[in-house]
């Protein structure tokens, strides 16, 4: 499938630059841990390397005692929030560009993190780059603070940054999330960090990076609507229920990460800063506060969100996103709030 595409130069109206997302070649050899916000715990760099090096080959078998912090032994300190300052600087530069060009995917030199790709490495790197000592962090997965991956990421930062954590949406300054937007309305000064698996909204229509980049640059989004058209002609509905594509600030089409479309309206004109990190795919993008975020649709098939025809079985509230819990093997089911903090807050208020 091709329309005219290769004539003339390859210059196109994209904010992409050669070497974008590139890192400094030699990062702070004199001060590997940096000295800005989030500098090394314990003050200035003492002249020792931040990580113990192993003794040379053929040493005896005591090496384990002086090994990497990840090995769980040894007493080497981490840099604040794990990443070295050079890496944070690189990520912050990408973040600044992302905020300046809302919805545009900025490439960045994603690092290998001590958790697997696909488990939130992008969000973790973004969070690590923006955390300061006074921040209060909340981490949710599927709306809940107590799912294992949320617990694991929260502990990671509690351990490597020593910052305060919370499960209360209202108390948090930084909220890292996977698959939900908190139901308590976000406020100015808060930052929501999304974990993103596939940042490219056109990926499943066009697998080639070189082609999708061109489509974004020229705002050629007809194909996106072809997908919605096909849904309606086949099912009578737009059959996309999560990762529902949005147009940001009237320009870029963006993947909101696999949040249910129920949450899409919360992104629009949101007072909080929204940052998106995709570690494996090495992209960062952003929606600045109070930015227009519109879910794609047709005039005669307008965007609608899911509705649940019952209240939460725990807090009794209606109009919230519910998780279905299978209670027995005879078709027994109950529906409870997906946002555990909002649910608990309501229950406390009722008492």
């Amino acid at each position: 499938m091709s329309d005219a595409r290769t004539f003339g130069t390859d210059a196109h109206p994209s904010p992409r630059l050669r070497g974008e997302g590139r890192d400094d070649l030699v990062v702070g050899a004199a001060s590997p841990k940096g000295d800005g916000e989030g500098g090394a715990v314990g003050g200035a760099f003492s002249g020792e390397l931040p990580h113990p090096r192993l003794p040379p080959l053929f040493a005896d078998d005591d090496v384990g005692k002086t090994l990497s912090p990840q090995a769980g032994r040894g007493d080497a300190a981490y840099n604040f929030a794990y990443l070295d300052e050079g890496t944070k600087r690189m990520i912050r530069r990408a973040l600044l560009k992302a905020v300046a060009v809302p919805g545009y995917q900025v490439p960045f030199a994603s690092r290998e993190m001590p958790m697997p790709y696909g488990w939130g490495t992008g969000g973790v790197q973004v969070t690590a780059a923006i955390l300061g000592r006074s921040d209060v962090l909340k981490v949710i997965d599927q709306g809940a603070d107590d799912t294992t991956n949320a617990v694991s990421i929260r502990r990671f930062f509690a351990k490597t940054a020593g910052i305060a954590t919370t499960t209360r949406t209202g108390e948090a300054t930084v909220i890292q999330t996977r698959h939900r937007i908190p139901e308590t309305p976000l406020t100015e000064g808060q930052t929501l960090v999304y974990q993103v698996p596939i940042p490219e909204p056109l990926r499943f229509l066009e697998p080639r990076e070189t082609e999708t980049r061109q489509m974004h640059a020229l705002a050629e989004y007809g194909l996106m609507h072809v997908k919605l058209y096909e849904d309606i002609s086949r099912h009578g509905h737009i059959a996309t229920t999560y990762a529902y594509p949005v147009e940001v600030a009237g320009r870029y089409v963006m993947d909101p990460s696999p949040t249910p479309k129920f949450d899409n309206p919360k992104m629009d004109d949101c007072p909080a800063l929204q940052l998106f990190g995709a570690g494996r795919e090495r992209r960062i993008y952003a929606v600045p506060p109070y930015t227009r975020v519109r879910s794609l649709d047709f005039e005669d098939h307008p965007f609608t969100v899911q509705s649940f025809d019952r209240p939460c079985a725990l807090c009794g509230a209606e109009g919230h996103y519910l998780d279905e819990v299978v209670t027995d093997d005879a078709g027994g089911r109950m529906f409870i709030c997906s946002d555990t903090d909002a649910c608990e807050t309501r229950r406390e208020g009722a008492q």
């Binding site: 384990g64 790709y117 488990w119 696999p258």
Partner: protein
Amino acid sequence: MYVAVKGGEAAIDNAHRLLAEVRRGDPAVPDLTVAQIREQMALLVDRVMAEGSLNDPDLAALALKQARGDVVEAVFLVRAFRTTLPRFGASVPLETGRMTLSRRISATFKDLPGGQVLGPTFDYTHRLVDFGLAEGEQLEPAAEAEPREDAAATPRVTDLLGRDGLIEPSPQDDGTPLGDITREPVDFPCDRSTRLQALARGDEGFILALGYSTQRGYGRTHPFVGEVRVGTVAVEFVPEELGFPVLLGTMQVTECQMVNQFKGSREVPPQFTRGYGLVFGQSERKAMAMALVDRALRASELGEPLASPAQDQEFVLAHCDSLQATGFVEHLKLPHYVDFQAELELVRRMRAEAEDKREAAE
């Protein structure tokens, strides 16, 4: 009254304690030492170093111990450690022509300066299980070979061919800064140095399968092994304040120079083309497969039709990293309740609508 599942923290702690226990195995069996792994599982250690992009046998051996022998997990540990290391600079390019060889094979010439060196190899062993090893059998030391007179000079086969112009010249270093896939995002289409970096740390199984596919006709390159050599090379670094190279140490590498399908026209006389592979440690399989894939990925540069997976750089580079692959495949274990609920709700609604329609029609 239903109580929502809680206690993620305690469950994680307990799971990790259990993991430590099973990692150790039966306490009656002596604990494996890192030195044992490093010395006796050397090829496994090499693979972890190659895919972990860090030349550190002790660390790789320890990672294997911690990972219970799971290669990808060990690679993961090494890579995550690597992330935290400060970057001082890049070494001078390795001079593999001055390698101290432990093995050197050419399939293109019967004999050549420096000779063929069989070295430690599984080739020509009969794959019969040696039950003596289970008994801890002591081995006879291998005989020392009499060095050939020309053993000191072991020019690369491609250099020999290059002298007569029979093979395309290796691209000269024109001072263009090279990419570094560990420090900057890959930008497609990317140059050969970037592709080689990705292949060098790529999953051995994936690269092997792709290389194999070119031999079976999916992007044929008519390869000949010009040379495979294994040995140690010096690693030199030029500190800015000194301005001359200093020796940092030596490391073992495997290099493969593949001699491929010739190119030419009425104006340009035909020349063989090159495919290149280089990995840490001893892994001829990986170096050779890498050289095959490198050559296949040069298809568009050499004006060959692009029709096979091994020729498609976006396909190869986006999928060759075992950490990215394993992370994304295994992330499917993470909860997806919210998305699944959204799909469930839609399917239920559409089924109800279909049912209504059917009833209305009756």
